[in-house]
């Protein structure tokens, strides 16, 4: 049930139509990708209301400056998700900073830090089966910092601290893990 105007139009064509202030094109882009953007923001933020704000911002930003998406540099979906993740992480980090300030001010009602158990985190992410299988092919020492960074919004330093591992080790494991994850997703029939 897409917008009748833009059924069958490619993402690249839709993005180009935004430059002509075509609101139907934005509606169709939202129809195609609003769900993943929202779902990613919700996972990172763990707060539906803030996730709504992030999802909204991602699409209104695209509307305001569609030229910032360059089709030569990847898919529109990947670009939107990258923006959604960056925004969400900004919110998470400013929350963390606020929490730190609160703790320094000695406030008792400071929110506790998120759960450190990566297994539990993965379980509650409610990922698609093929994504679970792909993640499960990674050794835990590669998977855990990726999950903490991507879905938890942690910096690699915070992830290393959380995991009790040296930062340099975590760095190289993240890179190795992302490569392995890509191959595993391809084996699952997903072409990233």
């Amino acid at each position: 049930m897409g917008s009748a105007v833009h059924d069958g139009t490619t993402d690249v064509e839709l993005a180009a139509a935004l430059a002509r202030h075509d609101a139907d094109a934005l509606a169709e882009i939202y129809r195609r990708h609003g769900g993943v953007v929202w779902a990613l923001a919700r996972r990172v933020l763990r707060d539906p209301q803030r996730a709504e704000e992030v999802a909204q911002t991602v699409f209104t930003d695209l509307w305001a400056a569609p030229e910032r998406y360059d089709p030569a540099r990847g898919s529109l979906r990947s670009w939107l998700l990258t923006r959604a993740h960056g925004r969400s992480v900004d919110v998470v980090r400013s929350e963390q900073a606020r929490r730190r300030r609160d703790e320094q001010a000695g406030r008792r009602d400071a929110t506790p830090a998120p759960e450190a158990d990566v297994e539990a985190t993965v379980a509650e992410l409610d990922l698609a089966a093929h994504v679970r299988r792909a993640l499960d092919t990674l050794p835990p020492e590669e998977r855990d910092p990726i999950v903490l960074a991507w879905f938890g919004g942690l910096t690699y330093r915070d992830a290393a601290a959380r995991l009790g591992q040296p930062e340099g080790t975590v760095k190289s494991r993240i890179r190795a893990g992302l490569g392995r994850l890509r191959r595993a997703l391809e084996a699952e029939g997903v072409t990233p």
Partner: protein, 252 residues
């Protein structure tokens, strides 16, 4: 030692796992290294493939549409939504504009009331009734979000005043989302809209189309660094550059 290509850092960058100087160093490198930029894009595509698809709450599109002045477009049904499309509900009877800005005795806006009335007032716009119909059970309507933003001590607030100094509207920016709260603006005719502009650059930049002033709250995109703003009247749908009269201005 910094490697020629910061390979490990590219993965961290794609994960948004770098901060501060480390992040800036990667960005500087990416600007001049297409090979590394391509590697980041590959990582981003890998991470994008982890995405789960879920139907977002209808309020998300409602706010996007309000922010771009396209409230006539009904909520696009997400591709993943397995539920059959509900028939569009009948638009409720519109409230009269005289009830638009209820205030309590101390003069402070009564946000809950504004929310309800603003939602009804939006229906005056026409097809937006479909959108609102989908979100009747959404507790977090625009007015509540704006009220929460207003209460946040970290939010930036600017009052837009008319030439004779009368407050006409406020702009609140919280966590990157901007809201225009209409305090005292004359309602416009069907062919017109209010539009908010960022001033101070070479040319005014549109921050969003506000609508005809009947809705109490609108969403706008206010980039960091915005200080001076102006509100103008424009043809419905908004203009790429201001054409109408400036009705109010304000500064963060």
């Amino acid at each position: 030692m910094t490697p020629v290509h910061p390979t490990d850092d590219l993965a961290l960058y794609a994960l948004d796992a770098l901060e501060g100087a480390e992040r800036e160093a990667v960005e500087a490198h990416l600007a001049s290294c297409p090979a590394c930029a391509a590697e980041v894009e590959e990582h981003q595509a890998t991470l994008a493939a982890l995405a789960t698809d879920e139907a977002p709450p209808p309020a998300v599109w409602q706010r996007i549409a309000a922010g771009i002045g396209a409230t006539g477009i009904p909520t696009p049904l997400p591709v993943t939504s397995s539920a059959p499309a509900a028939p569009p509900p009948t638009a409720p009877v519109a409230a009269g504009p005289t009830h638009l800005r209820p205030r309590s005795r101390d003069g402070r806006p009564r946000w809950a009331l504004i929310g309800a009335v603003a939602a009804a007032a939006l229906v005056v716009g026409g097809a937006v009734g479909v959108v609102l119909g989908n979100t009747r059970d959404e507790p977090d309507d625009l007015a509540e979000l704006a009220a929460a933003a207003l209460d946040d001590p970290d939010a930036g607030v600017a009052t837009l005043a008319t030439g004779d100094g009368r407050p006409a509207a406020r702009v609140v920016v919280d966590e990157g989302t901007g809201y225009v709260l209409v305090d005292d603006l004359p309602a416009l005719g069907p062919g017109e809209t209010y539009q908010l502009w960022k001033l101070g650059g070479d040319v005014p930049v549109s921050l969003g189309v506000i609508g005809d002033g009947r809705a109490g709250v609108a969403v706008v995109g206010v980039p960091a660094g915005t200080t001076d703003m102006a509100l103008s009247t424009e043809p419905a749908g908004g203009s790429p550059a201001p054409t109408g009269d400036i009705v109010a201005t304000g500064t963060f």
